[in-house]
């Protein structure tokens, strides 16, 4: 009996060690990436120039230009003034045309800058999706097989050990009871039952939490509209089509006339452009998808006119609304307002929607769970109006107490939580 309890103890300790090893890493490194995505991703990429230079190797370039190590801290905080005085900053402006938005230290600290640049230096581009899918599966299969083999080896060794001990016992003439087969061995059965219970519990909890959440939901839309082509390759601003995001609760799916602003002229998807692929890897004929748009719009591409409105319903004959499938859905009991986040809070679209400009087919990037909302409200700092460089948002000037606390040095910064961002009634009423 004592043998069994000892075995059980060992099993528990082993499990504990394995679990703690599994979850402990990869939390620290995420910091730089998170700040990058929230603050820098609109203009910078880790590899390759966007409207700003690539961030990978920024420190090396700085050192190569003979600048002091703290140059980058000064630059991020005072871009507008340094571009007039600093020769290297002048050269940057000449090369990229635009001047970077300054981020004072209250928004992006020196430690943040270090974290971002370190992350960018270590960044390796993800392998294109089609190839990555296969490779990843290969890996997990390999690991699975390896685990099985190792388990089998351990099992065999234990059995061999038992047989050898039996032999040596016989030699020394020690008598023991007949060994029981492994499948009736109580410690083995205990391990199996515990492992299965843990596994079942894990999947049960995952399923329970995941019910009603639609992360990674990626429906097939009536028209294969690639955000990668429009917002990525062609650099069309998100707000060109989803202008509602800055003015109203809803970001708005653009009406067909906004599509036709460009597609009156762009009739086909150029053959030399990058091939369009669905998420499952099947190819898409871009020109045929534009033809679908013409059908919905009631546009005649040959005569370059809209169909006449003979039936008097106010739209060209044959035109119907495009039955886009809504991806991001919040339940009825939650209030979410886009303009509050985009216009007042100055959040980038990518913070919640992920790198839309790299998605051929859009999927839901965030969980949209309450914990996810609250976490962001707890960590996001409010951009108070700053008289010195007239940056920040004047709306927050009503929080006089916080302004005084910051002035007197009592507070370093104010998060959304402090101005009521976690009060129930702000979103549920």
């Amino acid at each position: 009996m004592s043998c069994i309890s000892q075995n059980v103890k060992r099993v528990f300790t082993g499990l504990l060690i394995v679990v703690s090893l599994l979850f402990s890493n990869s939390i620290l490194a995420a910091d730089g990436e998170a700040i990058f995505k929230a603050k820098c991703a609109a203009c910078h990429k880790p590899i390759g120039d966007l409207s700003g230079p690539q961030l990978k190797g920024a420190k090396e370039r700085q050192a190569a230009a003979g600048l002091p190590a703290d140059w980058v801290y000064k630059w991020v905080a005072n871009t507008t003034s340094m571009v007039e005085t600093d020769p290297y900053a002048k050269a940057l402006k000449a090369k990229y045309g635009a001047v970077m938005t300054p981020f004072p230290e209250s928004q992006v600290s020196k430690a943040d800058i270090d974290a971002i640049l370190d992350w960018a230096d270590k960044y390796t581009p993800p392998v294109p999706q089609a190839a990555a899918g296969g490779q990843e599966e290969d890996h997990s299969l390999l690991y699975g097989i390896l685990t099985l083999i190792l388990a089998f080896v351990i099992f065999t060794l234990v059995q061999v050990n038992g047989s050898l001990r039996k032999l040596s016992d016989e030699k020394d003439d020690i008598r023991r009871s007949e060994p029981i087969p492994f499948y009736r061995n109580k410690s083995y059965l205990m391990i199996l039952v515990l492992a299965l219970a843990a596994l079942a519990g894990y999947f049960f909890m995952e399923a329970a939490i995941g019910t009603g959440r639609q992360q990674n939901y990626q429906p097939e839309q009536p028209i294969f509209y690639s955000h990668k082509v429009h917002a990525g390759t062609n650099q069309i601003s998100c707000l060109y089509c989803h202008g509602g995001a800055q003015d109203s609760k809803h970001a708005n799916i653009p009406s067909v006339n906004i599509c036709m602003n460009c597609h009156k002229g762009i009739k086909e998807y150029a053959k030399e452009s990058e091939a369009l692929l669905r998420a499952d890897g099947t190819p898409v004929d871009g020109t045929a998808e534009i033809q679908k748009l013409y059908k919905y719009a009631g546009w005649n591409a040959d005569t370059k006119t809209y169909n006449p409105d003979n039936n008097g319903d106010g739209v060209p004959d044959g035109a119907t609304e495009i039955p886009w499938i809504k991806i991001h859905n919040l339940p009825d009991h939650v209030y979410f307002n886009h303009s509050q986040h985009v216009k007042v809070g100055k959040q980038q679209c990518q913070t919640c929607h992920g790198n839309i400009q790299e998605m051929p087919e859009v999927y839901q990037f965030s969980t949209l769970s309450m914990g996810w909302c609250i976490n962001c409200h707890r960590t996001t700092k409010v951009d108070f109006y700053n008289k010195a460089d007239s940056s920040g948002n004047k709306f927050y000037s009503i929080y006089e107490k916080f302004h005084n606390d910051i002035k007197s040095g009592k507070l370093d910064s104010v998060t959304v939580e402090k101005i009521g961002g976690t009060e129930c009634q702000k979103c549920h009423y």
């Binding site: 599966e137 699975g144 499948y183 009603g212 060109y240 036709m260 602003n261 809504k326 009825d332 009991h333």
Partner: protein, 222 residues
Amino acid sequence: MKKTFIITAFIITTAVVLISCGSGPRRDTGRIYMPDMAYSRAYETYAQRDSLVFFSDMSNPANWGSKIFYNNQPVTGTIKRGGNAAYALLNDSAGYIASAAIVNPYPPMDKADSTETSRLYNINCGVCHGAGGQANGPVAGKLGGVRDLTSDLVLKLADGTIFHSITYGKNNMGGYASQLNSKQRWLIVQYVRALQRKAAPAATATTAVAAIPAKADTVKTK
């Protein structure tokens, strides 16, 4: 031995099933606790309506009692608070000519207006016309026939005509009345004028700049 075989087979199948799960795009929404709460029964933006009937004229009693279309135009003759009267000219050649007589009702932009208008210009116009207005935006090459806003032709257009063109569109360009309100459009007219002033010394100094609009024009006339 048979038992051993069964147990091993069971473990291997479970492992294989677990490994092979979770690949491929997620095409379904999954299960939800309370469907009527997650998907509103009340009409919401984007929600599917059971009517495709568009009524532009609710003043006609014949249309009363029909399904409501929430995207209706304001009642004729009404003006939004702080807004302008609806643009009276029609989208035809007579309207285009008449538009030259309309004057910009707004005073010159202050600094805040200018920053905001620059942002709006870059979002809505810069894609084709370019940040400097010289028809070198990222989409200009693909679309073809994009007008250089600093060209002589636009320089000589009246403010009202530029406003008319932004409102209703011109040639390949679509109308922007659905994206920009009347004030924003007028401020963009002012912003275009500012771009022209900025580009004026450069355009006279170099002939290279003039080559770009010439090319764009030939594409259009094709």
